[in-house]
Amino acid sequence: MEILVCIKRVPTVGGKIAVTPDGQEVDTRASGFSISPHEECAVEEAVQITERGGGSVSVLTLGPAEAVEQLRGALALGAHRAVLLETDGREFGPIATAAAIAAEVRSGSYDLVLLGNEAADTGDYQVGVRLAHELGWPVATGIKNLSVEDAGVVARREYRGVEEAYSLPLPAVVTVKEGINLPRYPSLPGRLRAKRAAVETSAPVHVAEGLRKEALRVPESSKHQASVLGEGVDAVPALVRVLEEWGVLS
């Protein structure tokens, strides 16, 4: 099976998140970058599918030149080929992103395109669905279990205590969520191979969209530093009183 996995380079945020003084971006002076978590699982899923049934995994990202780092990360996990749609500093919205990915899909002969359910940073929840409509392919989203069958793929997720199974004929688009698998650590030979691999680069077409970002800001928290009820088991009576006060003990 020929699989294309779309990944995104996002800032690695740890204990704190801050924005740049102009309010346009996440302040990344003190952080690195990584593959958005759902998409790291998409890479692992694609590699596992081709390990079992043959085929190859191409990995694509739309982003700045530095996003080669995330493509090499995916190659180290077992992807075979890497494509960079290199942007010029302008932010691409979900409509332009889906159109740019569709152009790459049409130029290849893919059976399956995997994406993350949503990118960790922008959280737009729509690139995979828009891509599927561009291509006229079926799509399932938020998937946490994927199996390849004779007639296509069966994609499963859980919703309000019910398991939903979607049977998709191929070619198809599937967006996955963390939990579908546990991504492997890259092996040393994998990392060496990734370091030497060629990355195919092209420039996507930017399109202005009807949803325009003005500024980013950190929300004001309703919580402040916690009041300490006490230490160890001695704090239990105070803890019980608080629970009673809040009416959670019925």
Binding site: V13, G14, G15, I17, P37, G93, P94, E118, A120, D121, T122, G123, Y125, Q126, V129, R130, E134, G136, V139, T141, E158, Y159, R160, V162, E163, E164, A165, Y166, P169, E178, G179, L182, E209, G210, L211, R212, K213, E214, A215, L216, R217, V218, P219, S221, K223, H224, A226, V228, G230, G232, V233, A235, V236, P237, L239, V240, V242, W246, V248, L249
Partner: protein, 316 residues
């Protein structure tokens, strides 16, 4: 009609997440609700000021088919002249509205906390980025504004005066392609399902120490009528299944009480529990980041505090 809202049902009644979407919709003008079921919870919708209910019966469209649901909303939006179509920011809500965006070629804003008409085809909005760790101020220019509502940030508030909604049975015009992808539903295994709507969540993190350490947390959760949730490290260590994860890449919770035990409070975890009304942290480290997001804290070892708390609650 100003705003059409996709209303999801939970056991026949409007889902809590959808009531939050209805609350936001009411600030835009008249509200119509779209319900895919054989009967409409008209009384509950009246409490939220819905003036018209569009009922799509199973004889027209049986079960969940995201593209068909979106096609139905597109048809209703043009019939009613709605200037906004919205849904709750759930898996289904975001998915259906993404399809609607693709069908209509219009932008879609996911997980909004505030939407304000600004004349003509302009809406100003505030939406979540980073699962709510950041807010984005944005402007949407579109003949019909499509968006979903951040369910952990918008409260569910009923209307001052209930409405008397008219129920219309609607038969959507669907193409074969709209029905290619549809859910085959079966009951899922126990656990995890109620995490998103639980009244009490007992959270366990690295401090629990291993898969065996969760027994007292389960006991406490049961006593409080709640469920156990966990941090990302717990699922990546394989101690608990991923569906119990609270956080940006897991489930977002909105309980009355979140009791975070042995959880340091990485920012991605805070994104999942910030919708809790009250937070109490039990942690050995008084400097743990979770303490700056909690109402109260107990400084101590959860392995001693939790069994003592269980005992105290049992002897009440």
């Amino acid at each position: 009609m100003t705003a059409l809202v996709l209303v999801e049902l939970d056991g026949g009644a409007p889902a809590d997440a959808s009531l939050r979407a209805l609350t936001l919709a009411r600030s835009l003008g008249d509200v119509g609700a779209v319900v895919f079921a054989d009967s409409a919870p008209a009384d509950a919708l009246a409490q939220y000021g819905v003036t018209d209910v569009y009922l799509v019966e199973s004889s027209s469209l049986d079960g969940y088919a995201p593209q068909a649901w979106a096609r139905t909303l597109a048809g209703l939006a043009s019939e009613t002249g709605a200037t906004a179509v919205l849904a709750a920011g759930t898996d289904r809500g975001n998915e259906v509205l993404a399809h609607l965006g693709a069908i209509t070629g219009l932008p879609m804003a996911a997980n909004c906390t505030l939407v304000t008409p600004d004349g003509g085809q302009t809406h100003r909005l505030v939406r979540h980025r980073w699962a709510g760790l950041l807010l984005e101020d944005a402007v949407m220019e579109a003949p019909v504004a499509l968006f979903t509502v951040a369910t952990d940030s918008v409260a569910n508030v009923s209307a001052e005066t209930p409405s008397s909604p008219q129920v219309h049975v609607h038969k959507p015009e669907l193409a074969e392609a709209d029905l290619v992808v549809r859910a085959a539903e079966s009951p899922a295994g126990a656990g995890g399902a109620s995490l998103a709507t639980a009244r009490v969540v007992v959270g366990g993190g690295r401090g629990v120490g291993g898969a065996d350490g969760f027994v007292p947390l389960e006991e406490l959760a049961e006593l409080l009528g709640g469920v156990v949730g966990v941090s990302r490290v717990v699922t990546s260590e394989g101690w608990r299944p991923h569906k119990q994860q609270v956080g940006q890449t897991g489930t977002k919770i909105t309980p009355e009480l979140y009791l975070a035990c042995g959880i340091s409070g990485a920012i991605q975890h805070i994104a999942g529990c910030a919708g809790a009304k009250h937070i109490i942290a039990i942690n050995t480290d008084p400097g743990a980041p979770i303490l700056s997001h909690a109402d109260y804290a107990v400084i101590g070892d959860l392995h001693q505090v939790i069994p003592a708390l269980v005992e105290a609650l049992r002897s009440r």
